[in-house]
């Protein structure tokens, strides 16, 4: 079963370097999925909100890693 563990570890490693970063992205996507389609703010803003959250998560996580 060593090969199976290796496959699972490699597959997980494709998407996750920093667990906190990945979890925050998934939580943000989940929140957007639940909320944005039901918010009547026009066609432009939901996409901007989705992008802005991801951009903020990226900058915050990278700068936190840089301070370590």
């Amino acid at each position: 079963m060593v090969w199976l563990r290796t496959v699972v570890r490699e597959f997980y490693g494709l998407f996750v370097d920093d667990g906190r970063f990945a979890v925050t992205v998934v939580i943000w996507l989940g929140a957007c999925w639940l909320i944005l389609p039901h918010v009547a703010v026009g066609a432009f803003w939901p996409g901007v909100l989705l992008f802005a959250g991801l951009a903020a998560i990226l900058v915050e996580n990278a700068s936190r890693r840089a301070r370590k």
């Binding site: 494709l14 998934v26 996507l29 389609p37 939901p46 996409g47 992008f51 990226l58 900058v59 840089a66």
Partner: protein
Amino acid sequence: MTIDWAHAWPPFVAAFLASTVEFVEALTVVLAVGAVRGWRGALTGASAAMFLLLLIVAFLGPALTRIPLATVQLVVGGLLLLFGLRWLRKAILRAAGIIPLHDEQAAFARETESLRREGAVRKWDEVGIAAAFKITMLEGLEVVFIVIAVGAGGSGLLLPAGVGAVVALLLVVFLGVAVHRPLAAVPENTLKFTVGVLLSGFGTFWVGEGMGLAWPKEDWSILALVAGFLLVALLAVRVCRAARRVAVQH
């Protein structure tokens, strides 16, 4: 099938650049196997992995078309976003000098040293075959994921993404045969930075489509998202450099 190149070039470029990075990393190990354990084992292992990867593509490609597009866009787009943002985060940290750059020459030296310690080379060299198979399979799976993820978001996008990966493979194999050493001069972090930006843009677009969001100007929003991630990533490099300076001073 006809390809609308106005929409096909973004997946082509994304798959080409991402696949180039992966194939360069695979080439380094295959070259090390060839140089230390012989070319028969290196080429047998790499060819077997390529065959298995083709089978995976042949199975997964048609299987994805049976799943509703919105579900594919949400799930595959989410994975593409995690993958692209992971690359972009690492490329930002490398560009800011927080973590070291990837060095193909050092990776080649490490691999050759490790393969030399594995004992004498036999006619059927399991060590060489396994090493070449494993690296081709690992890097190849990333390429397969990128091609499927970039191509799964809309009809007619899988072919240009696949063509991008095949062109990258041919280019890297040609360069590998021509120079016969690791492609250390390839600006790996610049490529990863670019690919991270592109895949994050694609991932955000597919996820938004899967959520049922209406993007203004439809597919052209991908370009705006890519430009947005590029600006944010360049800003993040500056922020990281400043954060490191402050951390060092205290």
